[in-house]
Structures are given as C-alpha cells and as structure tokens.
C-alpha cells in the first residue's frame, strides 16, 4: 500500500511520518509514534479512552483518520504534564483518588482539559456532560468529579503533601498514580516487541455443531500470514478451575457461538483477521439448548456427552447437563411453613452481564529457542495462568513465564486464560513475538460473563415479622463450560438466607450447561443476583405482614453469635448498624411522598480467601523492598494499604518501601487478586512480615551496640537504645554491614494461612473469614410515561472493620455502587440462540458520569477479630445491594411487582402496565 506523509504538530513539536492512508489517528500515535498513553477500549467511539485533543477539542482518536490531522495540532497525555511538572488536572486526579485501574485516565484527563480550556468555570452538570463520553468502570466517577471541582475552584484536595504521610488511616495517594496519569503505565496492549506480529482467532458461528473439517489453505496463501494453528495440530489437555472441562480449541464439536477453532498470525492485525475469515470449516449443526431449565429436563440436547469424564475437585451429582448441584439447610422447612402465619412465594431472574472492564483482553507471547514462553498479559492470577497453560498445552509448569502488566480493570473477567494459549502457539510456530487483542465485539460476545440467575423463594413468616422458614432454589446458567459455575453456586448458597436469622432453611443450587457463552467469576459472584432475589422477596414478606422494611430487617438481621447456614458462628456483625445508618441517610422515617420510593437492601460477603506469603527485604542503604506475588487489578490496595500497613509494622516512612513488580519467575507464588483479599489477606501478611523484619533489625542493632534487643527502638532512621541517644546506629549502616557480611539482605517473611472459620456442616467453601456487612438505601422517582428512573439519593454503609486508606476505601464503594446500579438499571447482555445481540458499549450500556446519582458513602468500623487493625474486605460487596435496593424503591414508588432485572425504561413501563394492584 502506498504510504503518505503526515505532517502535524504533536505535543507542541513538529512531527512528520509516513503512514498508510487508512491508518486511524489512534494507531498512528500508538504504533507508528510509540505514544501508548491513548488507549483503545472499544474502537467504535463509545468508551473515550483514546481521547486526544485535536486543535484543543477532545476527540476519539479511534474515529478519525491520521491524515485528517494534517497541519493540525494534536495533544496527547504525553504532552500534558511530566512527572515534576504535572498539569493541575493531573495533580487533582492523583490526590482525589480519581484513578484506579488507570486505563480511562488519559482520556478522562484530556476531556477535562478540553472542557476547562474552553470554559474555566463550568458547573458540575457541564463537567458531567464533558466526561460522559469517557467510560470509567472503577471509580463511579465521584472522585473524578471531585478532582474537576478542586481544579475549577483553584484548590487542591488533601494529599501526601498535606500531612497524609502514609500512616494507617491516611489518604495516601497510590504509588502508581503518577505513571497512570502521565500515560506511561504499560498495559498489555502497550507492550511492543521488535518484529512483533499479530494474532486473530477463528471462532465458531454455531452454538452446537459437529466440526467436520477445517481448511486453512486459502488463509495460508494470504501474503503476510506467518502461522496458523488448529486443534488438530496441538496436544491439548483439559483445564478449568474446579471442573476441568475445557480445551484450547474445539475439536470434535463446537459448543457455543464464538468458541475458538483455529488461530492465525500475520504481520498486521488486519491481515490476521482477513486470514481468519478465510479459514473454512465444515459443520453439521446439532440441536442446541439455551434455557437452563430446559437443559436439565429429560431429553434435552447434551452439551457434553458425559460430564463425568471431566476431573472435578468437589463432590456433586453430575449428569446430563447438570454441571453441579449443592444442597444445604437446617431445621425442617415444611414444619416451619406449617408454623408460619404467612407463606410467600416468588421467583426472580437476572440476565447475563459483562464485567465491563474498559481494557479488552490482550496478550503478547514470545518463545525462546528452548521452547520456553514469556507472556505479557493482563491477568488477576499470573501463577494460576501458568498452571492453566501447563494443563491446557500439556507441558511442564516451567515452560511459561507470565509477566503481569498493569490491568485496565479486572472485576473477575481476568481470572481465567483468554488469549494466552493462542499467542504462545502462534509465537512458537512463527518464531516471532505475537500480540493478540480482542476486539470489543469479541470481548462482549465471547469472554466469561456474570451468570444469569433464576431464584425461587418460599418464605414462612410469623405475624410479628419473625422469619421461620425459607426454601431457596437457585438455577444458574454456566454456558458451554463451567470454569467457575460450581464456585458461583456454592457462594450463592451462603447468600441464600441473606444476613438473616432463619431457623429452617432448605437451599438448592444448580449449575446447568447450555450452548451459551460460558460464564465466569465476576466481581462478587452471585452477590448481586442473590441480593436482588432475597432482598426483593423479603420486602414482599415484610409488606405481607404489614411491616416497614427497615423494622422487618432489624428484627431478623444477624447479631454476634448467630450462625450461617453452614453453622459458622459470627462475630463483629454489623448488619443492623449498616441498615440504620444507610436508612438515616435517606431520611427513611420521614413521611413518604407519593411517587417517590425508598428502598433498602443489605448483604454480607467474604473478606478474602486463601493464604499468602509476603517478603520484605532490606536494601543496603536502609530502604526496603516489599515482595508479594499478588497483582493489583486496579483497586489500588497494593499501592496504598499494603504499603501503609508494612510501613506501620516496620516503623519507617512509607516512601522507603519499594513495591517490587515482577513476574512468575521472580516473585513468590500467590493465588492472585480476587475475593476482596487485598487488605484482609495481603496487607495483613505484609504487616506481619514488617514486624518480623523489624525484630531482626533491632536484634542486629542490639548486637552492634552490645545491648539487649528488648531495649532497642527504631525511629527516624536510627536504631538506638531506648533512653540513651548516644547508643544509636543509622539503619542504613546496619543494613550495609549486614549485606556485606552475609552477602544478602535481612528478610522478613510472613504467611497468612488459609484458615477458614469452623463450620458445623460440610460445605465446599466452608466458613468465610471475617465476613463484611453492608446496607444500601436509595430514594428514586420513575416517569410514569417513559419509565425512566431518576435516583435522587443514594447511601451505602459498609463495615470495613478498619479504614486503612479512606480514599481507596470510598473508591471501592463508589465504583461498586456504580456497577451495581448498572446491573439494576441497564446492563443486560442479550443472547438469542446463543448469539450475543449487543456486543458493544453502544448497545450494552455502562453507567456514565451523567447517570451517577449523588452518593453518600458511610464507612463503619467493627474490627474483625483476625486483626491486625481488624480490616475487612470491601472490593466486591458494594455491587450487590443496589439491585435489591432499587427494586424495592421502584416497587414502592410505582406500586409494581419487580421480578427481573434490569429496570430499563421499557421494563418499568411494562411493570406499570401490569401494576400489582
């Protein structure tokens, strides 16, 4: 293709490059000029992460051709501010906590700049409009709006420079904020290697079909094609989480639309996709099943011929399309129903939903001459990925080195391999580094989703509102494979009673295979589904006995000493406190206005699972390296709370501790980021490791100073004998001497064990450590004609045990509420006959800055006994209650009976049409 010369001004410098005429401005910037600060989240102008300023105006650089910038002025994030001389918007974003995963940050900052350059004093509504084309999935926009406000008002929010020095409880800014706000943080697609080529997948167009043959000859003839691989060319093993039921390529048959059957690599992404389209496969269509209820009925088409051939870690009945079944209970529900004054039944459904990270999956692999693969990828679980790859490709674990890049939003969507195996196979066959990135369409149409649910509840209640019995049947559709199905059902079984005392319980959870896109373990797996079903249903129960929703909940809510359905005895229970505080924040007790609805919902959740090990090493100059194998998916716990607690344990300034970023070759093994474990598990371990190392430092000082270790102290960089300032030694000197003598550092190590609390009943997950509790309250109105819901007030009360970093903690709640509101109001991935109909951010809506209601975050501190500091998890729970709270508020406002989500305007109009009265 004939190239043309593009001459323009880029970040105040004259620039001239030769490019193909059809190059998008985004690609010219990222690929030809190596400026990877502008990100590609969708490629269709819907997400705004590629925003740059063109002659001062914010534009999506994916939507214009590079040649359109001829003679014009382009500003990218790299041109805005440099470390040391940041633009005020960048400073404010760092200090306000407006940055989490950071993927949307460059675009967000540039949109704000574009606005403020034209109108230096916009009101909040104008700010919301200006950034409404920039999607953020982490923050809920609250702290971004705070950042904008401080710039507009000409003041800075409190930050590290104002005494928030990294102590536990301070608003220390995250240590990776600077690289994110300047566009320098390297995400998976920002990895650029010499001679790198690009891969694409060939996917099944059928939901269920025999795969008869694959013909790659036409694709191979396309100039630029470097490698093609199909399932027939690879030795494949089964892999998965609890169930190992999946292979890298479909072989005998395809089981869902989008299942990979081949992979192609070529010199450009366009050639790779064209070649993929030229791979011809012959299929013989088979009857398919999409409805989980139908899948479990007799005579349904079988997704897997025999589910029992797959390895499975847990005990369960498995047959036909039944992937997993869990049953747990206590007492006698039938007897309970007899004792009850009223028995209320209901059925509730939630749709398939996408985790919605703005960063699509992307992986780059390079294979060395010995056959060992190095993989740069966006992953929440680098070590597990190594095991999955070893199983999937039948190779030793040591064949893979995973380098986790920054993650542009995880939310559970990056817990399981996606492109890694294909990139490895193509790199191996081509002898070249291969990068693969999903298009937004593939991302929405063929990656792991939130399980759609159908939950049937039957509840017996006494006249005074006391709950006596509840039968719960939960059915989840896991799609064609069940990597996280059993885990989801098992967690759901724990949520089936809500945080309530119900003496007689019967809980059944079913996971069905169907020919839908497979589902995964998305932020708070089963939480929003169960909070919707249980909290909406119990509101009806309260109404049936004529009780106020708050009073009813307070009467039945757990207290210290109550037990869960597994028989786990609870302590530090704060449901009632959360309920009361959330309710007060929306003036629950005030007389109700017709047409205005208020709703409540509460929830409980795990505070991190699995053990971990953290190391803190001395450097020879008296500073430290903190080494953990856990990655941070963007929440920021690792770059704030973990460091804050380590600094506290050591008694040194937080700046003297460097967080080591590494890979699976150099870091100690860890489970990865999920399960709300960053603070409860990783930071706890870091704190203990710090204390361990401090003891070693004091001992070393005591030996030099010939004193007793019990008399030693460490302050201001000196180790000294307490009360005797003349007997002291600089920390740096102690470390240097020790390194020189021993040929290595002092290392503080601590393991936090996977100690689940005891239960009296067997359960695959068992007791949940340090459960957290929360309650949300909402006030809303709905338009009788258009069905549009307007949330007027929202309050979220979360018991986090102890606030380690208020900014980070609020950020989790605000972002979680935004995601939960999305699930309640607009998010639904629609599959018809296994084909996703809305695989884009234009058709699958995420909350924008204009949609985010005013939110009051209330942090409650009931310390967990596991200590230190008593912090509980906060990453996942905020997304669960919005579903139930919204449904209850709408039910009150419009006098309707809510049984399914999301509450889109169309749904609300149809509910109004079928009013319960």
């Amino acid at each position: 293709m004939k190239k043309q010369t593009l001459s323009f001004t880029l970040n105040d410098q004259a620039e001239s490059i030769e490019i193909a005429p059809r190059t998008r401005l985004l690609d010219a910037l990222r690929v030809d000029l190596g400026l990877t600060g502008a990100k590609e989240g969708c490629g269709t102008g819907d997400c705004g992460s590629c925003t740059v300023l063109l002659d001062g105006k914010a534009v999506n650089s994916c939507m214009i051709l590079a040649l359109q910038a001829e003679g014009r002025d382009v500003t990218t994030i790299e041109g805005l501010g440099k470390p040391g001389s940041l633009h005020p918007i960048q400073q404010a974003m760092i200090r306000s906590g407006g940055i989490q995963c950071g993927f949307c940050t460059p675009g967000m900052v540039l949109s704000l700049k574009g606005l403020l350059d034209q109108n230096p004093r916009p009101d909040e509504a104008a700010v919301r409009v200006a950034i409404s084309s920039n999607l953020c999935r982490c923050t809920g926009y609250s702290k971004i709006l705070d950042a904008a406000k401080t710039v507009i008002d000409g003041r800075m929010p409190p930050g590290a420079a104002d005494g928030n020095d990294g102590a536990v409880g301070s608003r220390m800014a995250r240590t990776d904020a600077l690289e994110k706000v300047t566009g320098r943080a390297v995400y998976a697609e920002d990895v650029q290697l010499p001679r790198m080529i690009y891969g694409a997948l060939v996917r099944s167009p059928h939901a269920h079909a025999k795969l008869l043959s694959i013909d790659t000859s036409a694709a191979r003839q396309l100039p630029g094609v470097k490698a093609i691989v199909t399932g027939r060319d690879v030795e494949m093993g089964y892999y998965g989480y609890e169930v190992r039921d999946q292979r890298v390529f479909a072989l005998e048959k395809v089981r869902f639309v989008g299942e990979p059957i081949a992979a192609v690599a070529a010199t450009t992404p366009d050639i790779a996709r064209e070649a993929a389209s030229k791979v011809k496969a012959e299929y013989e269509e088979l009857p398919a099943v999409f409805d989980p209820e139908e899948a479990l009925s007799m005579g349904a088409p079988l997704v897997h011929d025999d589910v029992n051939v797959y390895e499975f870690d847990w005990e369960s009945e498995r047959k036909g399309n039944l992937c997993y079944k869990i049953e747990i209970g206590e007492g006698d529900v039938d007897k309970g129903f007899e004792e009850a004054d009223q028995v209320i039944e209901g059925s509730y459904e939630t749709p398939e939903a996408h985790p919605g990270a703005i960063e699509p999956h992307s992986s780059t692999a390079m294979v060395d001459s010995s056959g060992r693969a190095t993989i740069w990828t966006t992953t929440q679980k680098p070590f597990a990925f190594r095991s999955y790859l070893a199983a999937a490709l039948k190779r030793p674990l040591s064949s893979f080195k995973i380098i986790p890049t920054h993650i542009g939003g995880g939310f559970g969507g990056k817990l399981f391999p996606c492109l890694e195996p294909y990139a490895v196979l193509l790199a191996e066959r081509s002898g070249l580094p291969v990068q693969m990135t999903l298009t937004r369409e593939e991302e929405m149409g063929a990656t792991l989703l939130r399980h759609p649910s159908k939950v049937e509840l039957k509840t017996g209640v006494k006249r005074d509102g006391a709950l006596v019995a509840q039968r719960v049947r939960m059915l989840f559709n896991t799609g064609a494979f069940g990597p996280y199905g059993p885990n989801t059902a098992a967690l759901a079984s724990l949520m089936a009673s809500g945080p309530y005392r119900i003496p007689n319980l019967e809980i059944t959870g079913l996971i069905a295979y169907t020919n839908n896109v497979p589902n995964g373990s998305i932020r708070c797996p089963s939480g929003p589904q169960m909070a919707f079903a249980v909290e909406t249903h119990l509101e009806k129960v309260a109404r049936a006995v004529g009780m106020d929703g708050l009073a009813f909940r307070l009467k039945n809510a757990w207290e210290d000493g109550d037990t869960t359905c597994t028989g786990q005895a609870l302590d530090a229970v704060s449901v009632k406190e959360c309920l009361q505080k959330a309710a007060d924040a929306v003036e629950w007790g005030e007389p109700r206005t017709p047409g205005v609805g208020k709703g409540l919902a509460c929830n409980w959740w795990v505070s991190g699972t699995w053990g971990t090990q953290t190391l803190i090493e001395t450097n020879e100059d008296g500073t430290f390296r903190l080494i953990s194998g856990c990655v941070d998916m963007g929440t920021g716990g690792m770059t704030t709370s973990v460091l804050q607690m380590a600094a506290d344990g050591l008694g040194v300034p937080v700046e003297s501790i460097q967080l080591v970023r590494g890979d699976t070759d150099t870091l100690p093994w860890d489970h990865g980021h999920g399960g709300s474990r960053m603070v409860f598990t990783i930071a706890r371990s870091a704190y203990e490791a710090a204390k361990n190392l401090k003891q070693q430092l004091l001992k070393e000082g005591a030996d030099y100073l010939e004193a007793s270790v019990d008399d030693m102290a460490l302050e201001n960089g000196q180790v000294f004998v307490r009360g005797d300032a003349s007997h002291s030694m600089p920390l740096a000197k102690i470390c240097y001497n020790r390194h020189k003598k021993h040929g290595g550092p002092m290392i503080g190590v601590s393991s936090v064990l996977d100690d689940a609390p005891a239960t009296t009943k067997a359960h695959p997950i068992g007791g949940l450590p340090a459960p957290s509790f929360c309650a949300h309250a909402v006030e809303l109105t709905a338009d009788e004609e258009t069905g549009e819901i307007a949330v007027t007030r929202y309050a979220a009360a979360h018991d986090v045990g102890k606030v380690i970093n208020p900014t980070g903690c609020e950020g989790q709640v605000e972002g979680g509420v935004a995601m939960g509101l999305g699930l309640a109001l607009m998010e639904e991935l629609r599959e018809v006959n296994g084909k996703v109909l809305n695989p884009s951010f234009a058709d699958y809506l995420l909350l924008t800055a204009e949609d985010m209601p005013p939110l009051k975050t209330i942090l409650v501190e009931r310390p967990a006994s596991e200590g230190p500091f008593g912090a509980k998890g906060v990453g996942e729970p905020p997304i669960a209650p919005p579903t139930g709270a919204l449904a209850n508020a709408l039910a009150e406002a419009m006098d309707v009976n809510v049984e399914r989500l999301p509450l889109t305007p169309e749904e609300v109009v149809s509910l109004i049409g079928a009013r319960r009265s």
């Binding site: 010369t5 001239s16 490059i17 030769e18 010499p194 001679r195 002898g431």
Partner: protein, 159 residues
Amino acid sequence: MGNKSHITATINGEARDFLCEPRQSLLEVLRDVLYLTGTKEGCNDGNCGACSVIVDGVLLDACCMLAVETEGSSIETIEGLAKEGELHPLQSAFLEETGMQCGICTPGFLMSAKALLDKNPSPNEQQVRHWLAGNLCRCTGYDKLVRSVMKAADTLAEA
C-alpha cells in the same frame, strides 16, 4: 523525512521492502528497521566481523555496506540459517563442540563459516583458520570454533 529510499531485496529467502536513508548501513537497517538483531555491531568499522552477512553469495561486514546498495540482492543473516526449526549442521556442531562462550561473535562466525562451506565443502584446518580470520573472538581462543566448523564440514559431507 521525505528523503528515504525504497529498497526491495530478498532477506533469508523472503521478498522484503523497506525505507532507508541513503546514509544508513545495511547493519543499521537490519537491526533498527527490520529488527533482525542477530547480526551484531562490535566496532562499526569492519574490523571485528560480528556483523558478517552474506550478500549474493559474498561474505561481507554489514556495517561497511550501504543499505541502498542491496537493491535487488539476496541477503542471508543468522536468522535464516536454521530452516523450519531445524538447526543448520554448523549450528549443531557449534553446540556440540561448545564453539561459543559469551555468544556475541557467534552469529558472525557462523555466517563466515557458512560462506566458506558454500565455496569449499571440505576445507583443511588452515583454510578454516584463514577464512575465520576476519572474525574476532575474545572468549574462546578459536580452537573450539575451528573444530566446530571442521565437524560441520564432515557432517555435510556424510549427508
């Protein structure tokens, strides 16, 4: 920019085209434009041989040839020596005889040895030493290198 020449050449059997400035050496283009970094720069003045490549059958130092001179020619680099995952007998012999230490001169030695064997499939030791004299090695003392080339010649003769 503007002033670049468009060159078409065959590199390791594959037709390639690239843009280069008239002053750029073949070595610069191989490494910086085509990212074929197996060819090394040791001195950039034709003394060390680390950048040895074969152009139209002639062994030469890539640092001493302008890239624009390669229009229409056929260039062999170390990246083309192994074919479809199979090592060249010279590479196998270098591995078996440990004909390398730090490895930076290795690609150049292999290309020089290949040029020799292409011309003279059964050289004597003196001929090998003479042919490799344009390549400097600071690690091995050359004995194992010479032995590797002799062994590869034997292997090729048997094949």
